[in-house]
């Protein structure tokens, strides 16, 4: 883990230290994997729902990484955005920079998909699943490895 970048988020007050909980982290990852399987299953019939599941799988994998390392995002407005910043800080250089860099784009489309006129296509779901799967795999490897 890139401790310097994460320390900067802690200094900023975005991330706070808590007791590390590997068991809860593994449960989060199990849920994230279920979300990915469900997203793939409903992509044709419900792309908006599938996209939300794929996004949440990625977010929960990042939350799992925080839990395993004794960290969490300070609750409040913008917690999802800050989770994305944590991912970029903590998992930089592990071959998933592209996926992590797209977290905020996924977050933005997920938020807008609550409203009329936002577009979620099947291709978007597959892209989200691909990014989320990459993050879930790396975090699983770190926690179980």
């Amino acid at each position: 883990m890139k401790s310097r970048e994460v320390d900067a988020l802690i200094s900023e007050g975005v991330i706070v230290r808590v007791r590390a909980d590997g068991k809860a982290a593994r449960l989060d990852l199990t849920v994230a994997r279920s979300h990915l399987a469900s997203a793939a299953a409903v992509v044709d019939s419900d792309p908006v729902g599938a996209f939300a599941l794929a996004y949440d799988a990625m977010r929960k994998a990042l939350v799992a990484h925080m839990r395993a390392n004794g960290l969490r995002v300070r609750s409040g407005v913008g917690a999802h955005y800050q989770t994305g910043r944590y991912g970029l800080a903590a998992l930089d250089g592990q071959g998933i920079d592209g996926a992590l860099g797209e977290f905020d784009t996924l977050r933005s489309l997920r938020n807008r998909s609550e409203y009329r006129g936002a577009l979620v296509k099947e291709a978007d779901v597959y892209e989200a699943i691909s990014h989320a799967q990459a993050v879930v795999d790396i975090v699983t490897g770190e926690i179980d490895g």
Binding site: T105, G117, A118, L119
Partner: protein
């Protein structure tokens, strides 16, 4: 700054002069120093200063000094102000920038600026609205790509650009109260050909 003459509106002596005027006139709420302008517009510092002097002598801009920094503002007292503002808005304003970015998304049939920005284009006076509302008509290939467009537009324009997608049949039928309202108010057609001349 002897940049080439602007393709879209070749009445300015150079593209650089057009961009300088557009930055000062269209973003008067975000004043910036000459040095900042040079960086932002990627123009030579000295040449930009000479151009600013020329525009100030002509009464099209005015400047304030803050310490050693000089900050340009549009001269709203100029007899040309209102018309020049309108020209710059049409040639360099959000509709042009939005068209350049939307052009990279496949499946868009038409796109329009609506709401307060469109009203401003249509000549209704008022301050620049914070957000820009855009309606995209058609079946765009990717929601994620539209989201990236929106994010890139925020970086370029310094304003949120809210993009709403409407199917062609829904747009043509205009059965909802919202679409009827949108279509009854000023609409600015966005050129999706990236500024190509017709």
């Amino acid at each position: 700054m002897r940049t080439s003459s602007p393709l879209l509106l070749p009445i300015f002596r150079s593209e650089g002069q057009g961009r300088l005027l557009a930055r000062v006139y269209l973003h008067a709420d975000r004043p910036v120093t000459i040095a900042g302008l040079a960086r932002e517009l990627r123009l030579n510092d000295g040449a930009l200063t000479r151009e600013a002097n020329r525009l100030e002598r002509a009464g099209l801009v005015r400047s304030d000094r803050v310490g050693r920094n000089r900050i340009l503002h549009p001269n709203e007292e100029s007899p040309y102000y209102r018309e020049l503002y309108g020209l710059l808005l049409k040639a360099y304003g959000p509709a042009v920038v939005i068209g350049e970015e939307l052009a990279r998304v496949d499946g868009i049939q038409h796109a329009f600026v609506h709401g307060s920005w469109a009203a401003r284009y249509a000549g209704e006076p008022g301050s620049d609205p914070a957000d820009i509302d855009v309606i995209v008509v058609g079946n765009p290939a990717s929601g994620l790509e539209l989201t990236r467009v929106s994010s890139d537009l925020f970086a370029r324009l310094g304003r949120e650009v809210n993009i709403m997608v409407v199917g062609e049949a829904e747009w043509d039928a205009a059965e909802s109260g919202f679409l009827r309202e949108v279509q009854s108010r000023p609409l600015i057609t966005i050129d999706l050909t990236c500024g190509e001349l017709a």
